[in-house]
Symmetry: C5
């Protein structure tokens, strides 16, 4: 069904893509925005609703890649230099999904044609639909590897048998499942316990661990603390959404994460630098602004011209 | 499975089709008739039951495209100059569909062979069948884009979690889903609140917003008022069915919409012109007329000769 | 999946097949026998159980085509000159089917290889399985059209929402569905009201209407009366089974239908001719006869030699 | 999906295979053993558990073909001269199947590569899964015919609407279904009434009737009596399993069936010959014998050496 | 869908692979580790969690093959000389599976590209999903055989009709099912009764029997006793996981199995040799060790460096 660049499947080539194109000094930072599909538009404010705004953060924040669905990649990505990790499955939150399944929303072939550098896929381990999900994953993973594309798997435990999706053993089991199924990177929750994260990373073996950013934390300090802890556990990197684009200083916080992750700055120093940088770069993102902003519907973007 | 005109998927080429072939002065007006499948024949009167009648309205009303199912395209479209947007999924209303799913009724390949200019597809977001619908949409959208065809998605919230399909947030969420999944145009309801529509348009981003015409309004004024409001919100255009072909002056009302949408006429001026034009063009549509019309079954068309 | 005679899909070519090969003077008469699958063998008597008998009626009665399932086409059709319309889906009546679905029983490719001239397909509109049925129909209809084959659709309303499958509006809606889905001919019930049939025909538009023969009527007069009425409504033709092969004068009654349908004979004149013809052709069909016929199982055919 | 020996589908060629390769003097006798999958190993004794034993019976008994599943064909058939009819669907009896469905266990392509001469397939008419079964059958039957392979269909009525699977009308209906779906041979039960069987054969038309051997009868006489009756009804042949390989004189009983079926011997004469032959051929089948046989697990075969 | 090395399917070539590459002196010993997917990480200790550790056991223990899922094969196998049997379906234990189904986790094509020597597949006979499982197995088995690859089938009885999965008759039936479906090797439980195992082996015919190692036994003696018994029954070999890699002397116990299986040592002698070897090879496996080991989370491996 697919045309191959090569039939010589080679994990080394795939690892090389991760190491040379999707990381910096052996560590990865990805900006993610698929909440418009997964959660709903209540997540967005006047700026973040506009994909141009978020792409600009990705580009100016110099993240290793931007994670998004096909529609954003098609309509916006060509204007920006940031690498794309194309999320190829998803669902809405309109209906409650106790036993979730995410439909395939983009073929690997199309992701390749759109110039993406890697594939993102959500595995809901434990869901009633696990078999169908694994079946999808196999096809996606193998076709991606045929193209020499790395595959990042969201390893999310779900379903009636899961009482807590941050239970240490459940997370560790999920990491191992990701490794055995053939994921190259695992995007997973951090449950706040560094020892648990170390085991989680060990269970994932040679599949590299990415901490999922999750809900916006109460303070920047709190989030950077998590970054520092998980980085110290040996994680490969971070896939962050709301803690960046819901932040009032999205580019600066991106740089602060890097300061902690790569440059070894303490949280105090990173925070200090964040505040000083703010003075300089604060106005650099072309917000969508027009007169409507003064209305009571302020938290939504103005209408961009169409055509 | 498909043969490609080109493997170089290019959103710019697709946008160009919309801008050069499927709009006028950057604004679109489409006439739609798939109610014979979706709603039942009670929607039709003696004239509108006859596809020749409705194709004639499309042609003489100079709409940018006529939206219909495959059967009408195959059997009638070659006689008319109007562009076709081929609706490729659908269902009947015989059985009640609280959690609707529309079957694929036309392949993209066939739509291309029939000379259509774009594809229409209904996404019922929130339906129990959402995953299957998204799966269908992905295949249709990607094959259409492979051919360089724009895709218009009906973004209709449905299912047990939807209490109102005109709820502002639900509509805005649905618009965003359309964008993220890769629709090029979104055909959606207008809930009557211009501020909500502005947000809805913003949520759709670079996917262009088309207002769905919906039920016939009580008066022409009322409908033109909606057109004016939504146009002022920045919408790309209108996909109208019953408010045109159930109108006693279908061609004239089409022109009146254009007067408001493109020529900037006030509703009063558009209405004035509508009434004067009526004098001239009233008899221009070749109605199916024969002696049976005088029977009590007047609201149905006479029998066309077969063979 | 299919090999094409041509990729230039052309409705005109398909209509030409109907007009030149599957009708006489612009009117069609088809003999149908798939009741052995759909209803059970209780429909058959000593003669009609034998497909050779029924093929002979088709040939000698000079109908425009014989409608049957693949098995009969494979094993009998090559011995007869009659055109075949191959019915490509079906089910048994062993299990009760309130929400019916008919499996595909023959591929279009095989129908073509067997020399059939058109495809027959049952659409149960309103059935719980409507989406799957429409999906099947799309594939069958498109592949048939790729080969230049007309498609006849049985448009049968079914399912929990249908209280009567001869309700006028339901029949008219079903006719329209057939048109919009791309059927070329519609095989449908006649509810006995000519005005309803006229509307039904109008709803079908350029898809040609065939009256389904249905159960054997109480008298030949009664059936010919239906033929006359429906023909006068403008129907394209008739697809008749039991009213021919359960008739004691199957060939003569076939000619009587033609007399009414094409030659404009009154029912009285047609009946007169039927009775006189009977004298001449009565013994022309090679019935399966042997000594067993005198047993009490008289209404079943004798055992044909095997191999 | 398949490669064709020829696209000229020709029923005559298929019939020729049956007449020249799969029958003797116009009558067929097949030995069947798929009970290891369908029923369980309790059907087997120390000898019949070993496929080598049963293949030897087939070869020495000179049956027209041996019916088995793919595994036996792959691992044993190449050592024997007997033709294979490959049974391509099946299920276990571990779970109770009131509404049975048999999975496809062998592709037609593989059956062809293994040198089989025909295909066997079970149609459970009336089962809740009838549509899926018919769908499978269509694909199998058409691919087999593409290769010029005859198809034998087990026509077994099943499901909640079936009160007795030996009801005459149900059997006759099932035979007709087999004919209409395109089976070339029908393997069916005999309900013990010759007049019913005659009708059953007539309902099957040009699809040839094979009586299914069924459970081992109480005596050889009783079984030969069935053979004589059904043969006299005009049946094409017999597909026998347990009445041969559970018989203490499997080869001799095979020859006795032939005596009755082809040579026109009376049951008394066939029984006489069976008993005299027994003296000569009794030890001709290489039973698996070793010292373990003296244990209490006598009714199971000794362990064959592996590798 | 697959490309063939040859269309001449030949069981002899497949048997040759087993005899020349996947066994030693006609007997097989495989090390298995897919418990990380099937059971959860609680099965692992500080060493066995690391696939490098287990691959090293396989290599140094000189087993005939290592059985694992695709992910381990992709990311670790190229560094080791051990043959791979790629397990191509699986599921997690997060959700309880009374009627289990294992999704396909690796295509045959990919297994071939990864250099595997054979395919592993779990058949849950009796499960509610048996038909889907058999359908999967047919495709996998046939594609594997097209490549000349042997197929090992886990024959595991499951579902509501199974009261004990070590019931002798159920095991024997399952073995026969494996043979009839076309498995080349059967991985099955030993119920502790040698006479039952002999029958089980006989039921499997020319499909070779492998005993599944199962839970870690209480003592090494106990496990070696099983090995001796089953080997004496004529089994082809053993597929062992936890009884090797949960053993404190994994390499030595591997050699002890071989001593019993191939070299005919008594259990006493094998145990003696095991204990003496221990002195020499005890430190030969490069355990993942670092300072974290002194923490309370000792039973988990330290964090390997990533990239």
């Amino acid at each position: 069904m697919s045309f191959f660049s090569s039939t010589n499947h080679n994990q080394k080539d795939i690892d090389k893509v991760i190491n040379t194109k999707l990381s910096t000094n052996g560590k990865a930072l990805y900006l993610a925005q698929d909440q418009g599909l997964e959660h709903g538009v209540y997540e967005f404010d006047n700026s973040s609703i506009n994909p141009e705004h978020v792409f600009t953060i990705a580009e100016k924040g110099e993240v290793d890649a931007f994670i998004c669905q096909k529609g954003l990649a098609e309509k916006y990505a060509s204007s920006y230099k940031t690498n794309i990790i194309l999320k190829v499955n998803g669902k809405t939150a309109i209906r409650k999904h106790d036993e979730p399944y995410s439909a395939i929303t983009c073929s690997v072939k199309r992701a390749v044609e759109l110039g993406a550098k890697a594939i993102g896929f959500t595995n809901f381990v434990g869901s009633q639909h696990e078999a169908k999900i694994f079946d999808d994953f196999r096809k996606i993973q193998e076709e991606a590897h045929d193209y020499g594309f790395p595959v990042t798997s969201w390893m999310y435990p779900r379903g009636e048998a899961i009482t807590s999706d941050t239970d240490a053993e459940v997370l560790q089991y999920s990491a191992r499942v990701g490794l055995e199924l053939g994921a190259d990177m695992l995007k997973m929750k951090y449950n706040g316990n560094p020892e648990d994260m170390k085991k989680q990373i060990a269970c994932g073996g040679r599949a590299k661990m990415l901490m999922a950013g999750g809900n916006k934390t109460n303070s920047t300090d709190e989030f950077l603390k998590q970054v520092e802890e998980v980085n110290n556990c040996g994680a490969f990197g971070f896939a962050v959404g709301r803690n960046i684009w819901q932040h009032e200083q999205p580019i600066e916080v991106t740089k602060a994460i890097r300061d902690v992750q790569i440059r070894g700055l303490s949280i105090q120093d990173a925070m200090k630098r964040l505040k000083s940088e703010f003075e300089i770069t604060n106005v650099s993102i072309p917000d969508s602004v027009d007169s409507n902003e003064e209305t009571e519907n302020k938290n939504f973007p103005p209408i961009p011209p169409q055509n």
